[in-house]
């Protein structure tokens, strides 16, 4: 099988995630779409690792996972804080710096 198929799939998933970030309003869904983009990049890294016969791509994917986990923790804490002050998780409502 042509290894490029994995890369094409990764590109499609990445652009779908980007579309989600641009189109959706719910902050949590936007966040999930960012996760989808990170995962698409991971798939490309893992495929490149196999194409080149070294494990470095898998290491990068591993680090991406750790950073994504950190990002999820802090991002969701921010969403909860915004929800507490505005009673809404929509990205449209959080357009002012003050309450």
């Amino acid at each position: 099988m042509n290894p490029m198929n994995y890369i094409y799939l990764s590109c499609i998933l990445f652009s779908l995630g980007a579309a989600g970030v641009l189109l959706r309003r719910n902050a949590i869904v936007v966040f999930m779409c960012i996760e989808l983009m990170l995962n698409a990049a991971n798939l490309a890294f893992v495929t490149f690792s196999r194409m080149n016969g070294t494990l470095d791509g898998q290491i990068v994917a591993f680090f991406t996972m750790v950073v994504a986990a950190c990002e999820v923790v802090v991002g969701l804490a921010i969403i909860v804080t915004i929800y507490r002050s505005r009673r809404s998780a929509s990205v449209d409502d959080a357009r002012l710096l003050r309450l």
Partner: protein, 262 residues
């Protein structure tokens, strides 16, 4: 064609079958994630995408990453997402009103443009059209190979990432912390109030009467002046009317004759 080549060909065919089965599912789940209205459905579809990505990792000779993907992403991260969704409100559906005019069309065009550009560039690039394979790199096992790299060449990024994890945990705690907005009394304030007001006995309610002849819970205790302490009997017993009077159990003088008569 020798035997090794045949085996290689067959495994490649099996991989192709699995890929063409799973890739449409993955893409459809991702598309569905954008289209469904409820955030919970989005989260479930994202979990489906992540599980199929884990299968792709295992297919790509990265079993360690595949397992980590299932444990970390579908296990921990999606759990966190669902937890926050429940906290924020499950039925918080997206509003479909466009606040910026033409944003939806522009967004779709931008996303299709990014995807098209990526695919066009990647397909024109000379990246090689066959796998080198990880048989050599995975010779001692995938986990061993990754461990050698992480604790060897990549040990400094690994340490930095650990600092990042601690910082993220602290940041989440600081962000999620909230000072109590109503000054609810704690146990110390409550006990101080009780002593100050003196509305009820500080040392707790007195026990029921304990007489030499009768120590049931329905007899009130006697105060030093001889009167009955009503607080010493439970309200339930008093309401039932089972309350015995302490006078009924006064010590009766018995003479020696009475005892001998028995």
């Amino acid at each position: 064609m020798n035997f090794a080549a045949i085996v290689q060909d067959q495994s490649s065919q099996a991989e192709a079958v699995l890929f063409y089965l799973l890739a449409p599912i993955t893409v459809l789940s991702a598309v569905g994630m954008l289209l469904v209205k409820k955030a919970v459905h989005s989260a479930l579809l994202l979990a489906a995408v992540m599980i199929s990505l884990a299968i792709f990792y295992i297919l790509n000779e990265a079993p360690f990453l595949g397992i980590v993907q299932i444990i970390v992403y579908t296990g921990a991260v999606m759990m966190l997402f669902l937890f926050i969704l429940m906290l924020v409100g499950v039925d918080s559906a997206d509003s479909l009103v466009e606040t910026i005019k033409g944003q939806r069309i522009l967004g779709i065009i931008a996303a299709v443009g990014v995807g098209g550009l990526l695919i066009a560039l990647v397909s024109r690039g000379n990246l090689g059209h066959r796998f080198f394979g990880l048989e050599m790199a995975n010779g001692e096992g995938n986990v061993q190979g990754i461990a050698k790299l992480i604790f060897g060449q990549y040990v400094w990024p690994f340490e930095v990432v650990s600092a990042l994890l601690i910082t993220a945990a602290l940041g989440a705690m600081v962000l999620a912390h909230r000072e109590p907005d109503s000054d609810k009394k704690d146990q110390r304030a409550l006990s101080e109030d009780r002593v100050r007001q003196n509305s009820q006995p500080v040392a707790g309610l007195p026990g029921p009467g304990t007489f030499a002849r009768h120590n049931a819970v329905d007899i009130p205790a006697l105060l030093p002046d001889g009167t009955a302490a009503d607080l010493s009997v439970s309200d339930v017993i008093a309401a039932r009317g089972h309350l015995a009077k302490p006078g009924d159990f006064k010590f009766i003088e018995t003479s020696d004759d009475d005892r001998e008569g028995n």
